[in-house]
Amino acid sequence: MSKSMSAVKQAIPAELGGETDVAMTERVAIAQAVAGRKVLPVVEGVVLVAALLAPLVLQDYLTVFATRVVILALFALSFDLVWGYAGIMSFGQALFFGSAGYGVALLARDLDITNIFLVLPAGTLIGLTFALLLGGFLLLGRHPSSVIFVSLGTLTGSYAADRLARGWYYLGGQNGIPSISSMTLGGYEFSEGPAFYYLVLGILIVVYLLCRFLVRSQFGLALAGLRENEQRIAFFGYKAQHLKAIIFAIGGAIAGLAGSLYAFHEGFVWPNMVGVVVSTQVVLYVLFGGSGTLIGAVIGTVIVEGVSFWLSDNYRDIWPIILGVLLLLVILFRPLGLISFVLGERERVGSFSAKRKEKRNAAP
């Protein structure tokens, strides 16, 4: 029991406090075992090559499915940034994903705007704005908000938005907005298929690299500190709540981008898209893959979606139960996600030193 308990603590460094116990010695052991070995770039490379080759080996309909997964991976990235890096539990990430989806659907329906250079920035902006508003309300203030308040606050926000969307007739109510026209670039229409796939893959790669740059910057170091011990960071003189609100807003913007792509790819939006179901789904992706590693979010999305796809085909009656059991097992025994099978703690946290080479020289 103590083993899994300590493992659980590792997943939630922010709540560790200053205890010295088994968890620490374990961590050190892992750190030493892995020091000097770089697994992450290898994993990233493998995933990239697989993603680039996918449409060449997959059947048509699976390419369309893969496109959806890539869009959801982008969404998962947004949540990972917020939870995995800044330790803000956003149980309402779908709010930004879905409101952007609704936003671009309305643009397409009512104003006939489908140009990719208009709708994607619009969706991103909607996600950013909603995240700034909700994040500003929940995170800022004289006293730092508790983790529980933020998680239940975002959950409630998403729940209320879902109910609002269901009740608001202009948004199509329960039925949502169907038959959204295709996204366009001049005269070209992005219909589902390899072109759309490579478009979203390209966007994912760009956003991934931006996130990677961000979390490895000194800003990323501040986030790492925040996740470990928010009070300590505030006592250094960081405006901790501002940092959190900023990363929350960035997460919202990425979720918005993903949501607008999703709306055009699926061709419809519906209330679930802003609601608790999708909010929880994105938590599952990141949890399965491994929070606090960007690639973990991507891998988690692929695995959860892939397994669901397969299970719903073959064990349709019981697949939600199987999914629940798998989730519980991961939480209990692999709280750092499946990526922790190949990736050590030391490399997960990374190092922010100016001269990274010294790290290898100095390591025992």
């Binding site: 200053g18 620490m24 050190v28 910057s217 000194q218 170091l221 300590r232 003189g237 030193s353 100016a354």
Partner: protein, 244 residues
């Protein structure tokens, strides 16, 4: 004007009165010891000064500014720094990153995002680590350090931001005798640019490094003065005898 002036500080938790009109005055470049028996309110007073607790009553001034309502962040930016009673280094980060984190606390957001200060701070990080005899462990996780070393690391972090006032809550807790001696040596040089308030059980340690002492008992100030004055004070001797 003194650097720090806390006056009439009361703190009530429910039915428990932890502080009852306590006061503390610290001048520039002064090492000030805060002593008293267990439960006399030392830690609570430290927290009220640092902003971790909001006093029920009273006023805290720092560099001629009323900071009673300041958040910890604002106090830190005004030049106050705290080392917690329980060590709170960031365990899964390297020592290097722990120090870097403390050094860059007041950088602008753009500097942080584009890592503009990373190269410039490198030498400072290494200097701090060397000064606190931790340079050879720079790229180990902080969790890997011994308890004493973690305390040093935290003192180093607290000093990184060049504070005007450093608050140390039991810096030598859990240290060996040799480690205590070294801690004293490490603290001496900072006197040139920084004042210090220190809560400590080890009276020998306090006597060695402090200029002035304040003695708390049951939330009130029992005595305040130079080290010899306090040593000569009979009521202080009494409470320490009572404890023994």
């Amino acid at each position: 004007m003194p650097l720090l002036e806390a006056a009439g500080i009361s703190k009530i938790f429910g039915k428990l009165t932890a502080l009852d009109g306590a006061a503390l005055t610290v001048g520039e470049n002064e090492f000030h010891g805060l002593i008293g028996p267990n439960g006399s309110g030392k830690s609570t007073l430290m927290k009220c000064i640092a902003g971790a607790e909001v006093p029920t009553q009273g006023k805290v001034s720092f560099v001629n500014t009323d900071i009673t309502a300041f958040t910890p962040t604002e106090r830190a930016r005004a030049g106050m720094s705290l080392k917690f009673q329980i060590t709170s280094v960031l365990p899964s980060l390297t020592l290097y990153d722990n120090i870097l984190l403390a050094l860059q606390a007041q950088s602008s957001l753009l500097d942080l995002v584009f890592s503009r200060t990373r190269g410039a701070l490198h030498d400072q990080v290494m200097t701090m680590l060397t000064q606190f005899r931790l340079a050879d462990r720079a790229f180990d996780a902080a969790a890997a350090l011994s308890h004493g070393q973690q305390q040093w690391l935290e003192i180093a972090m607290a000093l990184a931001g060049k504070p005007k006032l450093l608050l140390l809550d039991e810096p030598t807790g859990g240290m060996s005798l040799e480690e205590r001696r070294v801690t004293g040596e490490l603290l001496q040089p900072i006197k040139q640019h920084c004042s210090l308030v220190i809560v400590e059980h080890d009276l020998d340690f306090i006597r060695d490094i402090c200029d002035r002492l304040t003695v708390l008992d049951q939330g009130k100030v029992l005595a305040s003065g130079t080290v010899p004055e306090i040593q000569a004070n009979t009521s202080v001797q009494e409470i320490y005898l009572r404890r023994a």
